[in-house]
Symmetry: C2
Subunit: 405 residues, 2 copies
C-alpha cells in the first residue's frame, strides 16, 4: 500500500536536497553558511559536500582576491554549482510566439531562439516537430552544453490532464490533444514536463519578491488571457490538473459575454485584452472575440482611459469588476494573503483597482480576515521564465542529483 518508508537512503536524499536547495536559492556559499542554512551539522555538511564535489555536482569557487580580507580566521571557501554537468531546454509557448531557451545547470542562459506563432503554426506542422526542430537547432549551435541535456520543460496555457503530461485544451490553436510531450521525450530520451503558465507565474513571483517566498499568494495574469497560479505557504499548489486554475474561465455572469473558450460569461471575456476592447468599442458581447490584440492597441486603450475617455474607463471598470468578483469567489475556497496582478493588464491596474476592491469587500472572508494585499507587478515575461527555470532545475536537483548513490 503506502510506500512512504523512511530509511537511510531517504535521509540522504532529503539532506542532499536541502543542501542543493539552499545553493539554488541563495547561490554559492561557504560550508558554514550551508550548515546554518540547512540546519545540518558541520560534520554532515562536510560529508555531503565532499560527495557532491566528487560527483562534480558542485565545486569550490576560487576565492576572489578582492582584498576583502575582512575576516579574522580561516577564510571561507565557497561552493557552488558546477554549471557544466547538465542543461535544460525551456519552451515558453504563447498565443503569438514561442521561445526556446537553453540553460545550464547553474541557471545561466546559454542560447535562445524566438519564433512567431500563428493560429496555423500547429495546424501545418505537428507541435512535436515544431519543438524538435528548434531544439535540434539549439543543440547544433551549442553542442557542448546540449550534450548534457537533462530536461525539457514547456510552459503552456490551457488545461492539463490529471497526469500533467497531456494538454487537453488550450487557447493556442491546434496545440491541445497532440501528444507532443511524449513524442519529444521519446525523440530526445529526456523527461519532458508541461507546466501551466499561470502556475509558473506563481513560482516566478516567489523568486522576484523574497518576501512572498513563504506566503500564500495568488498570482493573476491579465492580458490576452486571464490565468492564475497559487502558492500555499510557499508550496505551489497542485500537480496534474487538480489545484490547477482556470481562473480566467470561472463564470462571472451566467449567459454573459462570449469567451474565446466558447463558453459565456467567463472572467476572461470581460477582463482580457479582447474583452476590454470589445466593451470599450461597444461591440456586442456575443460577437466572436478577436483572435489576437496588438499590444499597441491595448496600451492605447489604457492611455485613453487614463486621460479620461469614458468608454475606455468603463471597459476597465467592467474588467476590474470581473476580476474582483472572481477573486472574491475564489477566496471562499482559498484565502491567500497576497494577490499579485501581472501581465499587460498590470499596467491598467490603477483603472481596475477600485472595482476589484469593491468586489472583494463583498467577500465574507475579507470582512473577517481583512482583504488580501492586492498589488500589480509589471512585466510577466521574466517571471514565467524564472519560474520555468527554477522549477526545472530544482526538479533536476531533487530527483536526479539528490538521489545519486
Amino acid at each position: 500500500m503506502a510506500r512512504n518508508v523512511s530509511d537511510s537512503d531517504s535521509v540522504r536524499r532529503q539532506n542532499r536536497g536541502l543542501v542543493l536547495g539552499a545553493l539554488r536559492i541563495q547561490g554559492a556559499m561557504s560550508r558554514t553558511a550551508l550548515a546554518a542554512s540547512t540546519g545540518l551539522s558541520h560534520a554532515s555538511i562536510t560529508a555531503i559536500t565532499h560527495d557532491l564535489v566528487e560527483q562534480q555536482v558542485i565545486a569550490e569557487l576560487e576565492p576572489e582576491e578582492k582584498s576583502d580580507s575582512r575576516g579574522r580566521g580561516r577564510p571561507a571557501t565557497l561552493v557552488g554549482f558546477n554549471r557544466h554537468i547538465g542543461a535544460a531546454a525551456l519552451f515558453e509557448v504563447d498565443v503569438n510566439r514561442a521561445r526556446l531557451s537553453l540553460v545550464d545547470y547553474g541557471g545561466v542562459l546559454v542560447d535562445r531562439i524566438e519564433s512567431p506563432v500563428t493560429p496555423n503554426t500547429f495546424a501545418n506542422s505537428p507541435p512535436a516537430v515544431f519543438f524538435a526542430e528548434r531544439l535540434r537547432q539549439l543543440q547544433a549551435r551549442n553542442p557542448v552544453e546540449a550534450a548534457g541535456l537533462r530536461r525539457v520543460a514547456i510552459s503552456v496555457q490551457g488545461i492539463l490532464d490529471r497526469d500533467g503530461d497531456g494538454l487537453k485544451w488550450s487557447p493556442i490553436a491546434h496545440l491541445a490533444n497532440r501528444p507532443f510531450a511524449h513524442e519529444l521525450a521519446a525523440a530526445f530520451a529526456v523527461p519532458v514536463a508541461l507546466h501551466k503558465r499561470g502556475r509558473l507565474l506563481a513560482e516566478g513571483a516567489r523568486w522576484l519578491d523574497p518576501a512572498l517566498h513563504d506566503a500564500s499568494v495568488a498570482t493573476v495574469f491579465v492580458g490576452s488571457t486571464v490565468a492564475m497560479g497559487m502558492t500555499f505557504r510557499g508550496q505551489i499548489m497542485g500537480r496534474g490538473d487538480e489545484g490547477a486554475t482556470e481562473f480566467g474561465h470561472m463564470n462571472h455572469l451566467p449567459n454573459g459575454a462570449l469567451c474565446r473558450c466558447g463558453m459565456r460569461g467567463c472572467i476572461e471575456a470581460y477582463a482580457s485584452d479582447y474583452g476590454v476592447l470589445r466593451t470599450a468599442y461597444s461591440v456586442p458581447e456575443t460577437a466572436a472575440p478577436a483572435p489576437a490584440v496588438p499590444s499597441q492597441e491595448y496600451d492605447g486603450l489604457i492611455a485613453r482611459a487614463e486621460s479620461g475617455d469614458r468608454a475606455a474607463t468603463h471597459a476597465f471598470n467592467i474588467a476590474g469588476r470581473a476580476v474582483g468578483f472572481g477573486l472574491s469567489r475564489m477566496m471562499a475556497v482559498f484565502d491567500p494573503s497576497h494577490v499579485l496582478i501581472v501581465g499587460p493588464g498590470a499596467r491598467a491596474f490603477g483603472l481596475m483597482q477600485a472595482e476589484i476592491n469593491a468586489a472583494l469587500a463583498s467577500a465574507l472572508v475579507c470582512r473577517v480576515n481583512g482583504p488580501p494585499q492586492v498589488v500589480a507587478h509589471r512585466d510577466e515575461k521574466e517571471p514565467v521564465f524564472k519560474g520555468l527555470l527554477m522549477k526545472t532545475l530544482n526538479e533536476i536537483d531533487q530527483s536526479d542529483i539528490a538521489a545519486l548513490a
Copy 2:
C-alpha cells in the same frame, strides 16, 4: 532557516507513524500484515512493535479461539491499540445543540453529553465555561478514562484565524472572538484544537466510503448553513485558515438575497434551509433570515416539492442553481473528481440535481475534463463525528506517540 533535516529520529517517527496509521485505518492486524501494509521489513516491524508494546501503546490481542484454525503454519498474533492509554474529548457545536463525546485511544465511545444551544447560550456564560462544565461532568462520570485525557477537539462552523486556534466569525451566536480554545487548554492542561465542520465532513466522508480515500473530493454540507471541505488526493487541504472554505458565503449574485452573515447574495442565502424557505414563501430576499428552521418544516417543504408544489419546487431549483454555480466557480480553482452532498439538504438532492448539473455544464473545466461525480450522502452527523474522531486520534498518534523516545 529551514529545519527539515532528516535524521535517525525522523526516520523513527515516520516509520512508527506508518505503523500506527496502518493500525488506525485497518484495525488490529498481524505483524506480517503490518509489514505488507507499511512496506517496512519484518525486522523493523518487530523492533517497532516491540517498542510500542513496551510503551503500552499497542498490545497483542488474545487469539479468538473460534476454531478458525484455517492456517497451516504458526498462527498470527494480532496487535492492536491499547484503548486505555489515552482519551480525547470531542465537542461538536452546532447552531442548536452541542455534543461532547469522550472517546478512548482505541476510538471507542466512552460517554456522551448532549446539550441544547440557543442564541443566548454563549451570551449568558462564556463558551469556555460552557465547555469546561460539560467536560468536567464527563470526567466525573468516567474518572478512569478521563485521567488519560490527551486532546480536546472542537468542531465549529465559521472562520478560523490563520493559526487555526481562534474563531473569528461564526454563525453560532456569541461564539466568535472568545478565546475559549486557549482557556480550555490552560484549564485542562491539554492541547485544544478547533476544526471547521466542513473540513471534518471531508475527513469523515473518506472513512465512510473507502473508494474516496485517495480521491479528490469536495464535500458540501447543505442544511442550516452551506459549507464545504476538500480533500486533495487523500490529503485534507489547508491548515489554519488558508485552503479553508467558506463556500456557503461565496457570492452567488451581487447584491442578492440577504444572508445570515450580513452580506448579500451568498450561496447560503439561497441554498440553506432558511433560504429555501424564504424563497418558497415569497418572503422578500432582503428580509432578515430566520434564526433557525425546525427540521420538520424543512422536510415538509421537501415533501411538498416532491409532490409537485410549484413554489416549493421553484425554491429548490433556485437553491440548486446557487450550489451549482458555486461548484462551477470553485472548479475553476480546484477540480475534484467527486462532489458529495451531505446534510439535511441531501434529502432534497433530487430536487436540485438538474440545476446543479446545468450550472456545472457551464464550467470549462467540466467540459474538458468531464464533470465530477456528484452524489448525495444522507445524514451528516456521523461523518462529522467520525472525522473529528479520526483526525484527533491520528493527531495523537503522529505527534505524541510516534515521537516517543
